[in-house]
Structure formats: C-alpha cells, structure tokens
Amino acid sequence: MYVAVKGGEKAIDNAHAWLKALRRGDPSVPDLGLEQIGQQLALAVDRVMTEGSLYDRDLAALAIKQARGDLIEAIFLLRAYRTTLPRFGVSEPLDTARMSLKRRISATFKDLPGGQLLGPTFDYTHRLLDFTLAAEGEMPAPAPESEPQDEGPVPRVADLLGDQGLIERSAADSGEAAAEAPVSDITRDSLRLPAERDLRLQMLARGDEGFLLALAYSTQRGYGNNHPFAGEIRCGQVAVAFTPEELGFEIEIGEIEVTECQMVNQFAGSDEAPPQFTRGYGLSFGQSERKAMSMALVDRALRAAELGEESSAPANDAEFVLYHCDNVQATGFTEHLKLPHYVDFQSELTLLRRLRAEFFAKRTQAEEKEAAE
C-alpha cells in the first residue's frame, strides 16, 4: 500500500509524546488512580457526566485523568466515545418523586411533607482554606447518621402545588398527547427551530455550566426577569427502568444519582389560562446543583414568548441560547482559529495591499493637484 508520510506527522507524534509525559508529571509523585478521581473529585466527575451526556463514573474519571483536569476536554472525550455506542432503546421516564433522597430543600415552604434535608453541601460552609487537607492523611470523622425513616416517597413541591391547581401541570401528569409523543434525540438529529421543549431541555442539559450560569444570572439582574423561587432542589438515587420490546414489561436496570431543580415562577395568566405558577426545569447527573438551577432558570426564560411575556433579553432568545450553549461545539470552533489559514489570509493580504496602493495613489494625486493650483 502506498502511504504518504511527511514531516508534519513526526511533529504531531513528538508533540503527543511530550503531552503524555506531562500528563503523568513527575514520576516520583504517585500516579492518580481512577478511584481517587471518582471518590475525591466527585463533583468534577458529575459535571463531565452531565455535559458529556453519559452516566459512567469510571469513564468520566478516565476522561478527567487523560485530559489533565481540563473538564471541557474531558467532556469532549466522553462525548466522542458516547457517539459510537449502540442504542438499545429509550428508558422509561425517571420518577424523581420516588427518589431516595440525599438532599432536598425548598425555598418556598418552611416545612412540608418529607421535611427539609440539607445533605452534603457547601452551603453554609465558611470558605476558609482548610490547611489540614494539605497535610496528608487527614481522616475526617464519620458523618453522623440518623435513624432511617422509611415513610415512603417524598412528594415533590411542584406536585403539592399542582394538586391545588396553583401551578401549570407538566405534560406527563396532564396525560396529554405530548407526553406520549416520541422524544426527539438531539444527539442523533439536527436541531431545527423553533425547537420544542424536549429538544430545548436536552440542549440545556448538556449545555456548558458556565454559559448557563451567566445567562441564568442575567435573568435575575433584569435581562428577562422571570421572578423565580427555588420550589425544590432534590438530589439522590433514582431507579432507571427499561421495557425491552421482546418482554413487553418494565425491568429495573439500575440506579443513578441525579439532581433535579424545579423553579416556580409567576405568571399573570392569559385569555385561555387562569393566573398560576409556571415551572422551569433542570436536571443533572450526580450533584451538579449549580447546573440544575441554571438550567431551570434558562428553561423558564426560553418559555417567555410562549407565555406571552416580553422576550427580548438574551436568555429569552432560543436560537441564540441553543446554538451557543454547547461547549464542545464552542471550544472546537473557537480553537479552530489555531489551524492554518494561510490561504484566506493570503487572499486578504493581496486585497489589502491593492487597497492601500489605491489609497496612497489617490492621496498623491490630490496633493499634486493642490500643489498645481
């Protein structure tokens, strides 16, 4: 076989060898194990799984290790792997009402069925560097445990409001046709606008945490204000069920950890609908709480037009938000400016030289004319 070989290939190979060595770092420092990443950098793993759209803690840890801690690079690695996986089918919708809770808070009710459960959170920690962590071998005391209270599922705040008709029903509990309609898959189809909410939520779920955070923040500062209340944030294990066609009944295939955020927003009502609360929805893998909250705010902001509200802020603009929230796309296109552009640049250079020559010729002409007069 005839294979073309050139100097560029050697350069690439050498660069990659160097990168590999740097990734490992000083060999006298112990190698980082995937278990260590999974256990001790768990929130990084959560983010990579969420934006990588693949729930696999080990692969996410591997991606973080391989990417030298560059999370967007790790997300990219996971996505590129995910795209090659065969599709067995679509799971049943997750029932987050049946979540076994690790954390559950509501900012709208002081007390409510199931209670407030603070859980493992940075909230209310004082952000002081803990120098005991710098000293190796620090072992925290085991967390206190309460008696398990098995009172069955803890109802979601949105359902409590919904029972009184105070909040719009979701498609799923209203039994509308929309709930039965097949859900599109943004990883297999091209995004077409106007995008329905299923597509929007998928795009937001894998959207960049920083970008969504900034957009969510902008809505709170008046760029598309939608008066949110954190109705409920819950985090915990939830069962994934799948119905194989050949069996025809549902089987549980495992549990995953997710964080769900339901924002409750004001709505004045319209000709058709009475005044009621509306929801913004966010869901992320693991304990990506900031992401879930941002997603919920942006989800609601994208519904402004459909609810007849003013919708001129950046976060209200579906085309703008959806086309720019994906960090794998954004990083690729931004960084592609590193690629050679000799040819386009040469074309521009040729034109610029010609325009400059014309400019100076015109000026000389004018000066000569002035001198002659």
Binding site: M1, S190, Q329, G332, F333, L339, S347, E348
Partner: protein, 296 residues
C-alpha cells in the same frame, strides 16, 4: 480486513462511524445531490476531533469511503499541514485505505480551504470541510429567517453587501468564501476557498460534497453543475493575480503562498498546492528532497 478487525476489538467500526450513521449521512448526501446547493440538515455526530477541525468533511468521507478508495487529504493546498496529516492518519487507521498525495491518483480528495490546481476528473469526489455553511449568515444571524430567504429565493441582500464593497472600496472586497449561485437557484458558500478557486467549481466533472459538522449541514454540487460567482454586469467577477511566479516551479497559473524569508521584508511566493508544485519540479528534472511517499 485486519485493520477493521483490530478496530472492532477496540470497539470501533470500519471508518469509525456505525453503519446506521453512515446510512443517515448517505441519505442526506443523496438529497444534497438531488438539490444542488441546498443545505440538507443531518444528524452530525461527535467525532474524535474537535468541531471546526473538519468533522463535517470527515463524516462525509467516512460515509462514502471503501477499502478500494485512494484518499488524498489537503489543508491549505498542502498534504503535509498538521491537520491534513491528522485526518489522513485517522482514515489510514480506521478505513484501511490507501493514501496518496497525487491529485490525479485519488478517488476521494478531502480538503480544507483549497481546490487542487490539477483539474479534477469524472469519477473523483472532492470533499470540502465547511465552517459556516450559510451564505446569508453575516447579513442575517437567524437560521429561521435565512431558511425562509432560501425558500423564497430572496437574495437581494447579498448583492447589497457587494454593492457596499464597491461603494466603499471601489471593488468587491470578498476574497475567499466568495458567494456563488448554483444552477441559478440556491445561493451557496463554497467554503473558505480563495475566490481564485471558484471557477474550478463551475461545471466540474467531479462530484463535490460539502460537510459542515458543527452546523449540521451537508450540501453538494453534482458533476457539471453551473456555479456562478456573484457580481455586477459592470463589475464582473475576477480572481487574484500575482506579479510573481512560483519561486520553486515557476508556475504562473497557481495560487501562491507568501513565505516570509527574514525580518527585513524579504519574502518569496510558492505554490500553495504542494502536489502540483512537486510534480512540476519533477517534470523539470529538479531533484526534490521533498518528494512524498514510500512503500509501507
């Protein structure tokens, strides 16, 4: 197929993409060929290289390539630029395919930013990598509106931008990615090739396929399609010219790269198409240490 079985051991299929994805892309390609210049949405996949680095072209190539193909990959006209090397390596590894640098020997040429100088023949396929497929994008940012403008053939605004160039600079200031009208119907971006290459698209005997991965669009020019570069009757389309010829092969008819020789303004011009330049030098009997290729 040893390479293929090796890959499947790693969990990847022939030419990387799974067969269902290839079929989806082929359907989009067929539609694109049936409606020359029309941008067909397709379910672009995440590829193991970044968006903006040729994922559209790579997916198109992956969908059409077979073991009997001979592949050439160029970037900026050259076979040895890093991204061209990287993509060629990808297909040599995943599709067990022969590669070449000689334009006339390739059955598929994947390219970024250039059309080869050696005229393409019937049966050859040129795959162009496209960053932004929408010709109206800088005039109208919204996809929903530009799709409507295409549907209704509302292209006046494109001429407004050419008019504006003439009014401001006395000439049309678009030098690459110069807009074309395909078969008198669809306005199309030829990808960021220099306008020097635009005439090569018109009635080309080769099939030209355009892939935009990040923007999820595929479009095509079937062989012998009429491709007209936009202009005014009194300001016709013209291509770049150089006062110099290629310093290596003496060509006067090829697109030239400027090479800076020193920090005192010294520069020389050489063919951007390295294969074309090397072949011309070989024909002139010049010894060429740069000659590509070897038996592997």
């Amino acid at each position: 197929m040893t390479a293929a079985s090796r890959l499947s051991e790693q969990g990847y299929t022939y030419a990387y993409l799974d067969e269902q994805t290839k079929r989806m892309i082929r359907r989009a390609l067929l539609k694109a060929v049936a409606i020359p210049g029309y941008q067909v949405p397709f379910g672009s996949r995440e590829m193991p290289m970044p968006y903006g680095w040729g994922t559209g072209g790579v997916q198109v190539t992956a969908a059409i390539i077979g073991p009997s193909d001979v592949l050439k990959v160029i970037d900026q006209g050259a076979d040895d630029t890093t991204n061209a090397v990287s993509i060629r390596k990808f297909f040599a590894a995943t599709a067990e395919v022969a590669t070449t640098t000689a334009t006339e020997r390739a059955s598929i040429v994947q390219t970024r930013h250039r059309v080869p100088e050696t005229p393409l023949q019937e049966g050859q396929i040129l795959v162009l990598q496209v960053p932004i497929p929408e010709p109206l994008r800088w005039l109208e940012a919204r996809e929903s509106e530009t799709r409507k403008m295409h549907a209704l053939e509302e292209y006046g605004v494109m001429h407004v931008s050419l008019y504006e160039d003439l009014a401001r600079f006395g000439r049309i200031a678009k030098t690459y990615d110069y807009p074309v009208l395909v078969e008198g119907r669809y306005l199309m971006r030829p990808s960021p090739i220099p306008k020097f290459d635009n005439p090569k698209l018109d009635k080309s005997p080769a099939l030209m396929l355009f892939g935009a991965g990040r923007e999820r669009r595929i479009y095509a020019l079937p062989p012998y399609t009429r491709v007209e570069s936009l202009a005014f009757e009194d300001h016709p389309f013209e291509v770049e010219t150089w006062e110099q010829c290629c310093a290596l092969c003496g060509a006067t008819d090829s697109f030239l790269d400027e090479v800076i020789m020193d920090d005192r303004g010294g520069r020389m011009f050489t063919c951007s198409d390295t294969d074309y330049c090397n072949q011309r030098q070989a024909a002139q009997g010049k010894p060429n240490p740069d000659t590509l290729g070897g038996k592997a």
